[in-house]
Symmetry: C2
Subunit: 343 residues, 2 copies
């Protein structure tokens, strides 16, 4: 099968390798219907995070189950499934507490595999706790929406949820990438009244508005914070979804949130230091981490099948897997927001 | 009236000054039944926080209402009241959201006054939103318990609540001062199954056990963390109540909490820096700030009148107000946990 590898920063190849096989009785093998490149894949691509030679890439996926281990009960060969980028057993105390992203038995997709999900086939561990079967075989049009649910929509939704999005609330979204745009959908569906997106990219601004943003703030730093205060009666937003992960973006989130507000932090932090006194002084509730996407998947799939949300619009470039390197380059250069790979 | 002042680090005096008067129609004047010295008063006392010459001290209080402004409705002269150290209007959106500690109109007790509550009389702003009337005149024995509710019990209770104390949960309390001991009472009342207190002081250990601690860990730092992991099946505690506010204590809290656990932080942070990546990696929910004691007061008063809790046991020294300086010294030297001042 064909699979994507990273050999060094900036060096992506597609190679012909053996298909993954069932290793544990709780595994499933899926045939990917589509996959994609994640913003987090850019950290090693840019040399900002170590990259092991010949890393199998990819952790977002949708597809058809082709084989299951003897203990898998909830999915069968032929089922179409969406899974989270976090593997989860679904049974441990942490999974049951709503945090499958911190499952006591499992880890991320691709760990322990030679290949990730940027490949024709993938082995998914703990299939019963990780995969969710769709109510029907999806149409071609539904594929990108379901693929987005696997990570960026689910992660953005978690950010909005952790930020306390609810009827009557004002929510700021810091970051206009695919996750930030997913947070807009989440904030909207959770009933937020005011959704302020910080973005200076006209296409992303337009998509944010289509997804439910009520205000766009193009300014950054102190100027951006001042604009948000203006839009929130001088108080700051009830919640902020932080979808970048830099010191600048976190400081912006903290500047935009009101006293006794919330920050949902999903941008993987890279060297971000927080003054506890500043959080304490504003009495901010902070929650963040790898999103517990599995918790939200049934709801997200339901909304997609009902035609209520169209998160797949974040894919503004579709390439055959052979051209994966071009996809990485486009995202690195910010020519594309999110690249879908097909087979 | 007599009132306590701090003139410089380490220099506490008691002086005869004029009684405070009603300034706003929402004010009440109370005649203190007792007051006390707070751990946070030690920061300026030790020169670790700036001190203005002739600062009126004190923010914990119980007493009898002697005069009210024309707009005060919920209390009358003659009523016995307990109030929070945070003034709160009770009407703004932030108060109504459960965070009177971040009231949009108000600030802390004593702000704008010449004297604090370490005085015979005090002006309490926004009386309707700040004071809670007791169901009956208290007995002499109930006074210290009610006084503790005004800050240390309420603050400890908030730490336990923010740490997610609930039936079946394991809670670590970092800090064995009066607030930490209040957190033990809170964790117990909220139903926590395992309450682990980090303390090396035999008297405080004994009181912690009396209040409901199930385990004591005398070790600190990495050794202390290792002990907590041992007591929690190697996972870490479901929640940690952090009641100190130093880098060391916060790092200890973070080391003791399990993945997807919670930290309730009530120790006023002094130069504490948090690596967001560490919080994110463990997916810790963090909440902290000045405790919204007013939210808990009705429940705390009810438990005290029912004889269910005896938080006043944290007062291990009682002095007449003339000897306030001796009280500060005893707490500074850790000879006393908490000093009550009488008139």
């Amino acid at each position: 099968m064909r699979a994507v590898f990273m050999n060094a920063p900036g060096e992506v190849t597609v190679e012909e390798v053996a298909r993954p096989e069932i290793k544990e009785s709780t595994d499933a093998i899926i045939k990917l219907a589509a996959t994609c490149i994640c913003g987090s894949d850019l950290w090693p691509y840019r040399g900002l995070q170590p990259v092991q030679h010949h890393s199998g890439m990819g952790h977002e996926y949708i597809g058809e189950v082709v084989e299951i281990g003897s203990d898998v009960k909830s999915v069968q060969p032929g089922d179409f499934v969406v899974g989270s980028f976090c593997i989860s057993c679904g049974e441990c105390e942490t999974c049951r507490s709503g945090y499958p992203s911190r499952c006591e038995r499992a880890t991320f997709v691709g760990a322990g595999n030679e290949t990730g999900t940027q490949a024709e086939y993938a082995r998914i561990a703990w299939a019963d706790g990780t995969l969710v079967k769709t109510p029907a075989q999806p149409t071609e049009e539904q594929l990108p929406h379901l693929l987005a649910a696997s990570d960026v929509l689910g992660t953005g939704w978690y950010a909005a949820d952790a930020a306390g999005a609810a009827p009557g609330k004002s929510i700021v979204v810091v970051g206009d990438g695919a996750v930030g745009l997913g947070a807009v959908i989440g904030a909207k569906q959770l009933g937020a009244e005011k959704i302020i997106v910080m973005s200076r990219n006209p296409e992303r601004q337009a998509l944010a508005r289509e997804f439910g943003a009520t205000h766009i703030v193009a300014e950054r730093g102190e100027e951006g914070i001042a604009k948000v205060l203006e839009l929130t009666d001088g108080k700051g937003a009830d919640g902020v979804a932080e979808a970048v992960g830099t010191q600048q973006s976190f400081d912006q989130a903290l500047g935009c949130v009101r006293p006794a507000g919330r920050i949902g932090s999903v941008g993987v932090p890279h060297g971000v230091s927080v003054d506890l006194g500043a959080l304490f002084g504003k009495q901010v509730r902070l929650e963040g981490g790898p999103a517990p996407v599995r918790r939200y998947l049934p709801k997200l799939i339901e909304l997609i099948y009902a035609g209520e949300i169209a998160p797949g619009k974040v894919f503004d470039k579709v390439l055959p897997i052979e051209q994966a390197a071009e996809g990485y380059k486009a995202m690195d250069e910010r020519v594309a927001t999110k690249v879908m790979l097909t087979f």
